[in-house]
């Protein structure tokens, strides 16, 4: 597997009035292409901040993030937006679907930024919904779906553009055990069969077990562990 993400000397602090609160201290990390990686750690450890910076929705104070040879931390907002549209699929804890759009329309949303024709968009959207097992719920609105189904729609939206990386922030955090299991199975399937690189933030050790590589963060510092080590936790 080739190196996909390279993080060097990454630093990030937040300011509360005049008080500097360090969130990430000199993070160095490499993620290979096709890897299913989990970021774990207690609240305030900096795992979501790290995920956001890898996904290009937050910027570091110092250091670099290089993804497939592109230094994203120095990109301007417009370039970063284009980069995200082409390279990143997002899966959120609370699904973040647009309530006035159907499942189909929600999944189609990222494709509106591409030059695909209507027929091509339709085909790609239907394929994504088939992969997540919701081909029969295309015309349903989010409020007509269960939490697990909403998250599946969100996953379909994340994969519809065939991005380089899938970033998932507590994807099972708002789901019951059975639904969480379904979502984790789906993510595993995307990783193994569709060779998606997945970066997941989770509190749940059971969810983290699905990852091939686990990185543990604590007070902004990174401790790398492998899958076996996770099982030992």
């Amino acid at each position: 597997m080739s190196k996909l993400i390279e993080i060097r000397d990454l630093k990030k602090s937040y300011w509360r009035e005049k008080l500097e609160i360090p969130v990430l201290n000199n993070i160095n990390l490499t993620i290979d292409s096709g890897e299913f990686t989990a970021l774990m750690g207690p609240s305030g450890s900096g795992k979501t901040t790290l995920l956001n910076m890898i996904a290009g929705i937050d910027k570091p104070d110092d250091g670099s993030i290089t993804i497939e040879g592109q230094e994203i931390s120095s990109m301007n907002e417009t370039a970063l937006a284009k980069w995200r549209a082409n390279n990143v699929g997002f899966i959120f804890q609370f699904y973040n679907l647009i309530p006035v759009l159907t499942a189909f329309e929600n999944v189609e949303l990222p494709l509106l930024l591409t030059k695909l024709s209507k027929a091509e968009r339709k085909q790609q959207t239907e394929t994504a919904l088939k992969i997540v097992g919701l081909a029969d719920r295309m015309d349903h609105y989010p409020k007509q779906l269960s939490g697990g189904q909403e998250q599946r729609v969100a996953i379909a939206r994340a994969i519809v553009t065939d991005p380089l990386i899938l970033v998932a922030d507590e994807p099972t955090g708002d789901l019951d055990k059975a639904s969480a299991e379904d979502i984790l199975n789906l993510m595993e399937l995307l990783n193994k069969e569709h060779e998606k690189t997945i970066l997941m933030v989770t509190h749940d050790p059971h969810a983290a077990e699905r990852a091939q590589v686990l990185h543990h963060l604590e007070k902004g510092d990174l401790i790398k562990s492998d899958k076996k080590a996770v099982q030992e936790h």
């Binding site: 956001n52 907002e77 995200r84 309530p99 006035v100 759009l101 949303l109 930024l113």
Partner: protein, 386 residues
């Protein structure tokens, strides 16, 4: 699905709120349009003024008459193409509340200097032939159910006595702004009776209407006419018809200014109403905008979404307001006493102003929500709890 579909769906997300906002805008546009129609109708007489007509009146006041003998002297002034005259008669038709202009005019020239009063050749010939005949506007004929051949009896006040006139013509207005609420009769008829009953008042007219040959020389002609009668017992004041009409309206200027101000205050109020709706909508969608930005949508996409929704609501409200305005103005014009306004109709400029107003409102109401949506960092948007 296109971005515009999302704009439409967003606009209808809170149906009650959107409907109330649209209703508020439509009522405000309706009120704005109605006030503007009052204002423009008030000035219809000014708008109907011809550029090639001058009004020559007594220099002291409009109420003082001028000798009819001035006609020939005025004709001698360079660049004067035609001279006519008229005299305010006043009087009462049936009831004092029936107000409309009744004027004694020079039948040979009056309809030549006022070509916007459309009268058939036959009616004009009949009118000229019969001393006690009159011509009325089509609005008057409709209001009082008068036809050619009917007798109109006026009770004179400035010129006392009973005055009977046979209607020999009904003129049609050439333009929307042309006043079709007037009555004209022979000045000779009035003058004959003055000669018999009150000789001291005979051979005087109210004002002259002078048609100039070259409108670029109107001011020179005005000055030349006034110069002719300088140091006479009845000096004149000549001005363009427009200036003359504006002088009439000067006394009501404060009321009209207040109506103008109110109409624009209404625009300000609807701007705040829509602004409030858009701010609430954008605030509720802070997290969604963050999601869209994370997916790669740019500031211009969000601008399209918010601006599209805002202008959609304002334009729809404006369209409904205008749709209500047209029938209301028609009904209002029918029930309003004739003669109160020279003409009461919605001018093109009123429609343009209404449309520009709703467009400006739609854009202005979106500015703050756009600024907020575009500048809020994605990570802050995700943390937002509405």
């Amino acid at each position: 699905m296109k971005i515009l579909k999302l704009v439409f769906k967003n606009a209808l997300r809170h149906k009650l709120r959107t409907i109330l906002t649209i209703l508020g805008i439509s009522i405000a546009v309706f009120a704005f349009g109605l006030l503007r129609t009052f204002v423009t109708s008030w000035y219809a007489g000014v708008d109907a003024s011809a550029a090639d007509r001058l009004i020559v009146r007594h220099s002291v006041s409009f109420i003082f008459p001028l000798p009819s003998a001035y006609t020939n002297k005025i004709k001698t002034v360079d660049n004067v193409a035609e001279v006519s005259y008229a005299n305010w008669f006043g009087g009462t038709y049936i009831d004092k509340s029936n107000f409309f202009a009744r004027m004694a005019v020079d039948v040979n020239t009056f309809f030549e200097v006022y070509p916007e009063f459309l009268l058939s050749d036959e009616e004009l010939a009949n009118f000229k032939r019969e001393r006690n005949s009159c011509v009325i506007g089509s609005n008057l004929a409709e209001q009082y159910n008068l036809q050619i051949g009917d007798i109109m009896t006026l009770d004179g006040d400035i010129y006392p006595g009973k005055w009977d006139f046979v209607i020999r013509g009904i003129y049609q207005p050439k333009f929307n702004s042309t006043d079709a609420n007037q009555m004209f009769f022979h000045w000779e008829y009035l003058n004959e009776r003055m000669n018999q009953e009150s000789p001291g008042r005979a051979n005087f007219i109210g004002w002259f209407i002078v048609k100039v040959a070259d409108i670029n020389k109107s001011s020179e002609v005005s000055a030349a006419i006034d110069q002719v009668f300088k140091n006479s017992t009845a000096e004149t004041k000549s001005e363009t018809e427009r200036a003359f009409q504006q002088g009439f309206l000067a006394s009501t200027g404060a009321i009209i200014s207040a109506m103008n101000a109110i109409s624009f205050i209404i625009v300000g109020i609807i701007m705040l109403v829509l602004g409030n709706t858009m701010i609430m909508a954008a605030r509720e969608r802070t997290r969604e905008y963050a999601v869209l930005k994370a997916l790669g949508f740019s500031g211009s996409h969000l601008t399209t979404l918010i601006l599209g929704e805002s202008t959609f609501i304002s334009l729809l409200g404006g369209a409904i307001g205008l749709a209500m305005l047209f029938p209301f103005v028609d009904v209002f014009a029918q029930f309003m006493p004739k003669g109160f306004f020279p003409a009461f109709y919605i001018e093109t400029i009123t429609l343009v102003l209404c449309m520009v107003a709703v467009l400006v409102i739609g854009i202005a109401a979106a500015i703050f929500p756009i600024q907020r949506a575009v500048t809020t960092r994605i990570v802050d948007g995700f943390r937002f709890v509405g």
